[in-house]
């Protein structure tokens, strides 16, 4: 069952930022991806097995690391660094391109 979460981190300018994410189990293990659409940073949402952006309808596959399927995003979802333990999944970092967009 996919789980929505929010992760808070401190940007390089010293300000905090909260990003939305989704944790999902895949055959390769649990995966966490950012649910900001790479196009305009709208928050994408689950639509059946896929992630769909409500702003411009880009589609992504959460089972394959947020792979881009269609739409103006033209790339996969922003990637997160994370650790998985028995107690759960902990986000430890965000893709540099995402941080740049949030500065």
């Amino acid at each position: 069952m996919p789980v929505l979460f929010k992760a808070r981190f401190t940007k390089s300018d010293g300000n905090d930022s909260v990003i939305p994410g989704l944790a999902v189990r895949t055959p390769a293990g649990p995966v966490a991806i950012c649910t900001y659409c790479p196009h305009e940073l709208c928050v994408i949402k689950l639509d059946g097995q896929l992630l769909r952006c409500p702003c411009h309808f880009s589609l992504f596959d959460p089972q394959h690391d947020g792979a881009w399927i269609s739409g103006p995003a033209l790339r996969r979802t922003f990637q997160l660094q994370y650790e998985t333990k028995a107690s759960g999944l902990t986000v430890t970092g965000v893709e540099a391109d995402l941080e740049r967009r949030l500065l």
Partner: protein, 372 residues
């Protein structure tokens, strides 16, 4: 049965008394472009009920109504057409193929010229509604998205092309990708070799159908709106959580209005401004913080403008429209497939109109349609 009769009589009185510029009886309908699908929803503003669903074509986006409310034009992005709707009977009476990625539209006050943008082609088209064909092309930088006029005088159209992506670097990457696939074209349909980002609003003269000036705004303009007298433009732009006030005569930005961030969520969560409108009485300008779920209302009767209300809508607000009688503000909630109805006098959210799943409502316009 007796109650039903009384209610019907009351409703009929409401419809006939809706104020417009003339005393002819009208009924006010809200047209909603469901960009996630192929439909335009027609909503009765007195009951907030969907009274007609028009299947026009893939990804409806632009809406332009003639000033007499008789005709509504819809642009469909997915199949590159514009559609003429008889607003009295809510039927599509004609459609024209203008090329892919049709976006927002605006029509001159005489109903003759329709200005419409082709997102991937860097081109606005001028469509003559009488001749049924495009009579002029206006090439621009960036990706045509929005166009507005002043309600009192449609001599000038203000064209607001956005970029392929909200940041310059990302836009260059997106352009490279799009060029490699041959989807970026010029006005004549020839593949583009290069893409130029846009940071200005173009001024088009509808008498000559030419660009007669530009207004630098510092980044790609997003939704814009003109005051009825044409003296002011208000613009959302990329990279700025707020809006700009523009003097159209001087063709320059005179004020940058930043939204106040109140909650921790607002201070730490990225958002952007999208969707802007002026109340029909011309007193207030409203615009949205999308990811924060807040609509802001500013008093525009004096400058600098003054914040008078922040209206949380509990979802992502995207486009703005008002009922002609100034009673209701309508906010498209694309993410929630719904329309928020806000009481203009109290600035309170009073109702949410649900639309079908994945309809993705975007642009919307309330039209006073003559009763026949």
């Amino acid at each position: 049965m007796r109650w039903a009769g009384i209610m019907a009589a009351v409703c009929t009185a409401c419809l006939c008394s809706s104020p417009t510029s003339s005393s002819a009886p009208v009924t006010v309908k809200l047209y909603v472009a469901a960009t996630g699908g192929s439909e335009v929803y027609v909503i009765d503003v007195d009951t907030n009920a969907i009274i007609k669903t028009l299947n026009v074509g893939k990804q409806p986006h632009g809406i332009a109504a003639t000033t007499d409310g008789r005709w509504v034009w819809i642009a469909t992005e997915g199949d590159g057409k514009i559609h003429k709707i008889d607003a009295v009977h809510d039927v599509v009476t004609a459609n024209f193929n203008l090329g892919p990625y049709q976006q927002e539209m605006e029509i001159t006050n005489d109903g003759r010229l329709l200005y419409t943008g082709r997102f991937m082609d860097g081109c606005y088209d001028v469509f003559d509604t009488k001749k049924g064909k495009v009579v002029a092309h206006l090439p621009v930088d960036g990706s045509p998205h929005n166009v507005v006029k002043a309600a009192n005088d449609s001599r000038f159209m203000y064209l607001a092309p956005m970029n392929l992506s909200p940041t310059g670097a990302d836009s260059a990457v997106a352009a490279k990708y799009a060029i490699s696939r041959g989807v970026l074209r010029d006005c004549d349909g020839k593949p583009k070799a290069a893409y130029t980002t846009n940071d200005k609003i173009y001024v088009a003269d509808t008498l000559s159908n030419t660009i007669v000036g530009t207004i630098p705004v510092g980044n790609a303009p997003r939704p814009i709106v003109a005051s009825d007298d044409g003296k002011r433009l208000y613009a959302d732009i990329d990279g700025f959580l707020g809006f700009l006030v523009i003097d159209t005569k001087a063709r320059k930005v005179i004020e940058r209005v930043k939204f106040p961030l109140v909650t921790d969520d607002e201070k730490t969560t990225f958002s952007r401004a999208h969707g802007i409108g002026i109340t029909p009485d011309q007193k207030e300008v409203w615009t949205n913080s999308v990811n924060h779920g807040v609509v802001y209302a500013y008093d525009r009767t004096a400058e600098p403008v003054r914040l008078i209300a922040r209206i949380p809508v509990g979802a992502s607000p995207y486009w703005v429209a008002f009922s002609p009688d100034d009673r209701f503000g309508y906010i498209a909630l694309a993410q929630d497939d719904a329309i928020a109805v806000i009481d203009v006098a109290t600035h309170k959210l009073i109702k949410t109109i649900s639309l079908p799943k994945n309809s993705g409502p975007k642009t919307l316009q309330a039209v006073a349609v003559p009763v026949q």
